[in-house]
Symmetry: C2
Subunit: 217 residues, 2 copies
């Protein structure tokens, strides 16, 4: 116990899925699970399950398996170590409203604290019980209100024009739905892209070239 190797990105990406299934198991009343059972559920291998958990110190017990309860709480601590993250939404259009709703209703670890838009016609309107603010107010708001992440649901152009000010806001991450790629290596700023168009195109390619790799995503 205590192999302090750093988690790689593939491991981090699997963590939420572990969390999803383990939460389900916990709600089912399952108290224990082995790496092979979990691998079966996850569609991976027992080795990978053990290797993955070992990145974080390995919370299993030899000969016994893993305690569902412990796994759940440990992974939760990994995903949300400092309580809920404070997020602001940029762009109150169709997509922005949907994502905002999603964060409010379906996300336990993130709370939405403000909404911004560039459209004067809707600035000042209420959305999710908050007054929509103008983009000019973004930097000072983030600085004063300790915002952790920006959720970018704007057009490519809006995102591009906001990009130079992002560092000033002091946020640590961007959940990016815009077609703009925030400068990929700003160090200290983590960008998680959700490029819907790219995802759909990748599907299109794979569907059209069926002999494609059998790798699971």
């Amino acid at each position: 116990m205590s192999n302090t190797m750093k988690a790689s990105l593939p491991v981090i990406r699997r963590l939420p899925r572990y969390y999803r299934y383990i939460t389900e198991l916990k709600n089912n009343g399952t108290t224990r699970i082995s790496s092979s059972q979990l691998a079966h559920i996850m569609g991976s291998t027992p080795s990978q399950v053990r290797q993955d958990f070992n990145c974080f110190g390995g919370f299993g017990q030899q000969g016994v398996g893993y305690s569902v309860e412990l796994l759940h709480s440990e992974i939760e601590k990994l995903l949300f170590p400092e309580g809920r993250l404070r997020a602001v939404l940029l762009g109150a259009g169709n997509l922005g409203i949907t994502i905002g709703n999603f964060v409010l209703k379906e996300s336990t670890g993130v709370e939405l604290v403000a909404v911004f838009d560039s459209d004067n016609a809707i600035i000042g309107n209420k959305l999710f019980g908050m007054e929509i603010m103008a983009f000019d107010e973004l930097v000072s708001f983030c600085q004063n209100e300790h915002v952790d992440i920006i959720i970018a649901c704007t057009t490519k152009e809006a995102a591009e024009s906001l990009a130079p000010h992002i560092v000033e806001t002091g946020v640590k991450g961007i959940w990016n739905y815009s077609h703009f790629d925030f400068s990929i290596n700003d160090e200290s700023l983590i960008v998680e892209n959700v490029h819907l168009r790219d995802s759909l195109m990748a599907l299109s390619y794979r569907v059209s070239h069926k002999e494609c790799p059998h790798m699971q995503e």
Copy 2:
């Protein structure tokens, strides 16, 4: 010219981004680009650009570089070789409407041909100019109307109950927004997951553990 090695998933995932930037270059009036210029734009390396394009036969010219026009049309052919794919939307809720809108307005390679939902209160209503159909009609519709992909924007439960019928529909792929993992190894059926919650959690982890890998997504 003609190194027929198969494209790996990471390469396929980069294709849409190449396409995005190359479309931009084309619209800018740029006619030629070198692997190093393109790598700079993409945030990758010249080696990777050349390696990637070589998976598809390599459409550059030594000493000269790549023709933007040619690149654009070749990648387009790779992404959408058989014209537009026919898609149906499952779930006409908040998310479904947003994604449906996105496909209709922002996607060139995919067309939306029908919408389904389980809620009797909205079945029969018009959405995007189409009448919302019941889930029971899904299989026969897909069989008769040659549907290529299903866009799943339903609840986990709805997706789970539909899963056993998916094979019957004869679709080739699923663009999955539901919290349900369609059985990962159905062979012949390609699933592209857009797990918003997982993506947000991964961001949360990375933001909270800033010493995390500097790998670009």
